[in-house]
């Protein structure tokens, strides 16, 4: 498991390439690849887009929506719950490439969304061109919410009934019970869920590649897309792996924050 990562890390200090002289004899270039990021016009944008993508689509979108759906399902129960569950999970079990093409078909110029809007007499725009990040974020929320929902369904079923009933007797309102009883109890699950979906979202590639290929004008180029472009489209393996290393680092930072959260949950 560690060997390929070590290789990747090592290569990020060389000028390894797919073609040209550097393909024959890669040279050690020290921190050159990392220094290049500082002057690269795309890298800072790309790092920012990656953080936005994770924050909005995973931490806010998938996580919050998953929790809301799970809470509603717990309350409604029975047939409604299983119907909603099935619909949400359906998008999750699709292979990523299929989900990506479905999202493309939905948001593209002649796509489902614009046809639906057309039925109401609204002229849609080319979403993937005008709002690429928004489209990708929505697609990732659509695809990933099921996972959070399943985690929270399991967590909520562990919340002892007598505690919330006692609170109810004490006159606590719905939102008070949620904020002061349910959420603190499932805090560990929240942190675990955040950790998993953050790391998964950091690595999303196919969805973005199929929907926008990182465009227009790099407006949706996240770090995995940039790493792929540099390493394989431009053949610059050294720089591509350096970008991948930064991506790993971002994952480590997020991970460390969540680990603290989990520890805090279990005193």
């Amino acid at each position: 498991m560690l060997a390929p990562v070590a290789w990747s890390f090592y290569a990020s200090f060389t000028n390894a390439a797919l073609s040209g002289k550097a393909a024959l004899n890669p040279q050690w270039v020290g921190l050159d690849n990392y220094a290049r990021m500082l002057t690269d016009s795309v890298f800072p944008l790309s790092a920012w887009l990656t953080v936005v993508f994770v924050a909005v689509s995973a931490i806010l979108g998938q996580n919050a929506l998953g929790l809301v759906i799970a809470l509603l399902m717990t309350r409604s129960g029975g047939a409604t719950a299983s119907l909603v569950g099935t619909v949400v999970v359906a998008s999750w079990i699709l292979p990523e490439i299929v989900a990506a093409f479905a999202a493309y078909a939905y948001f593209s110029q002649d796509g489902t969304l614009n046809q639906l809007l057309g039925m109401f007499g609204v002229q849609g725009t080319n979403w993937l061109y005008a709002f690429p990040m928004a489209a990708i974020i929505l697609a990732n929320v659509w695809r990933g919410t099921a996972f959070s929902m399943l985690v929270y369904r399991a967590a909520l079923s562990q919340v002892p009934r007598d505690v919330s009933e006692a609170a109810l007797m004490d006159g606590a309102r719905g939102w008070q019970r949620l904020a002061f009883i349910t959420l603190p109890i499932i805090r560990g699950s929240i942190a675990t869920n955040l950790m998993l979906i953050t790391l998964q979202t950091l690595a999303v590639f196919t969805l973005i590649w199929v929907m926008t290929a990182g465009g227009p004008s790099n407006a949706s180029t996240t770090l995995p897309v940039l790493a792929y472009q540099e390493a394989f489209k431009l053949g610059d393996i050294g720089y591509g792996t350096a970008i991948a290393s930064v991506l790993i680092l971002i994952g480590v930072v997020f991970g460390a924050v969540y680990v603290r959260l989990i520890r805090g949950a279990k005193p």
Binding site: V5, S8, A16, S19, Y129, G215, P216, S217, K233, G240
Partner: protein
């Protein structure tokens, strides 16, 4: 942490595995010989597959005990190049004979992927039948030949006669300057606002198509160039570069071309060939000499009327200055892998694949410009489609890309400049300045010159 680790793993796992594989020498079975052929095949590009199927039969019949193992890669040009480069890194996956883009020859020679063919070519009697200019396509920086050309191409303006007639433009149409193009496009727009008058690719979506079938026709028509072969330096700060971007901006701003959103869609060329031109919704576009291969019988977008409805014109220089026109050429070659264990057999197979019969079939089915003189003079070739003569004549005003190892990155920087301009993100001057800065960063200040 597993997910991000996986990306790193995926990226360098590939390299790691290939590198370790490169160290393990495999003993070669001698009794039965196999040569492996790697080439590109897509739904719309099967002409080469046909050539290799035929060559395999011919070759196996003539060389008992040898098996030809055909391994087509299903991918577009970009991905084919990447997959081929990855396969080259290990003797287990490296091909004996492969299909190679002319502009990658020099950098792949540097990478040690191609076998030097000088001695084999010296004793091959058909080599003299190859056009001298075309032979240069397979030449490395050291002057030796590493690849044999299959065919070449040129770029021209392809126009729909009915759309031009409707706008009152006399036929045959031959614009003399850039302004002639704009004037004609405005007329078409006025006559029918629903048509796309003059399409030129831009942005990263169409990749190399953006530079080969659009930007370079403009740039080389200003007298400027991308690279100075004599100084071995990249050219920055030229007025021609900004003027070329300005021309694209005018086309897109006045809505004489496709919408920016369409331009950035990597599949836009399918609409150009498959819908807009055949349905009379597009006046003209700049495309390769291979255009008829899409429309002729068996092509991806069969269109019986193309021979009557379409016309071809030379892309003009900026102000009509000499030589009066511009074209770009590329094309593909066959090469022998440097890691091959049966170099002689591999070369022999290569010569079978490019013999007169197979080269003729390929040039006709793929609308290629012949590089063998005996094919060029063959009546079958000349009758392949009504445009063969026109597009072949453009070889006289054509340019080739600077095939250095830096080239792919420079090309991307150019594509980026066009994208920023047509999307309205930067003015031509700003985009040109950013291009200059990128080039300096990519190749270093010493390999750049102001012109």
């Amino acid at each position: 942490m597993r997910r991000p680790v996986r990306i790193g793993a995926a990226l360098l796992g590939v390299v790691g595995l290939l590198a370790s594989a490169a160290c393990s020498a495999q003993p070669q079975a001698v009794s039965k010989q196999t040569i492996k052929i790697v080439y590109q095949k897509t739904d719309s590009f099967t002409a080469l597959d046909k050539v290799f199927q035929d060559a395999k039969q011919e070759f196996e019949a003539a060389n008992a005990g040898v098996t030809v193992d055909l391994e087509p890669i299903q991918a577009n040009d970009d991905d084919y190049g990447t997959k081929l480069a990855l396969a080259q890194r290990s003797p287990d996956t490296a091909p004996d004979v492969f299909y190679e883009d002319t502009f990658k020859v020099r950098s792949d020679v540097d990478a040690g992927y191609l076998l030097k063919l000088d001695s084999q070519l010296a004793s091959w009697d058909e080599w003299s039948k190859f056009n001298e200019g075309a032979k240069a396509a397979g030449r490395g920086d050291d002057g030796s030949i590493y690849a044999v050309p299959l065919g070449t191409d040129t770029r021209a303006i392809w126009y729909n006669k009915t759309v031009l007639q409707k706008a009152g433009i006399p036929l045959p149409w031959q614009p003399k300057t850039w302004d002639d193009i704009l004037a004609a496009a405005r007329k078409m727009k006025a006559a029918d606002p629903s048509v796309i008058p003059f399409s030129m690719y831009a942005g990263k979506g169409t990749g190399e198509g953006t530079v080969m079938q659009s930007f370079y026709e403009l740039l080389y028509g200003t007298g400027s160039s991308l690279y100075s072969e004599s100084d071995k330096k990249w050219v920055v700060g030229s007025k021609g570069f900004t003027d070329s971007l300005q021309f694209l901006k005018t086309l897109y701003d006045e809505k004489l071309s496709v919408t920016p959103a369409d331009a950035l869609d990597s599949n836009v060329w399918k609409k150009v060939f498959g819908q807009w031109l055949p349905q009379g919704k597009m006046g003209a576009t700049v495309e390769g000499s291979y255009a008829p291969s899409f429309w002729q019988k068996g092509g991806s977008y069969e269109w019986a009327g193309y021979a009557q409805d379409m016309g071809v014109a030379k892309f003009p220089t900026q102000f009509g200055q000499d030589p009066g026109g511009v074209s770009m050429s590329g094309g593909w070659t066959l090469a022998v892998g440097a890691k091959t264990k049966s170099a002689d057999l591999a070369f022999k197979f290569l010569t079978t694949a490019v013999n007169k019969k197979n080269a003729l079939a390929f040039d006709v089915n793929n609308s290629q410009i012949a590089v063998r003189t005996d094919v060029a003079s063959d009546p079958g070739y000349q009758a392949a489609n009504p445009f063969v003569k026109d597009v072949s004549n453009l070889v006289g005003v054509t340019h080739y890309r600077p095939a250095t190892a830096d080239y792919p990155k420079i090309s991307l920087a150019v594509q980026q400049a066009t994208e920023a301009v047509i999307a309205g993100k930067q003015s031509p001057a700003e985009a040109a300045a950013e291009y200059d800065a990128s080039v300096k960063k990519l190749v270093g200040d010493t390999k750049v010159m102001q012109k």
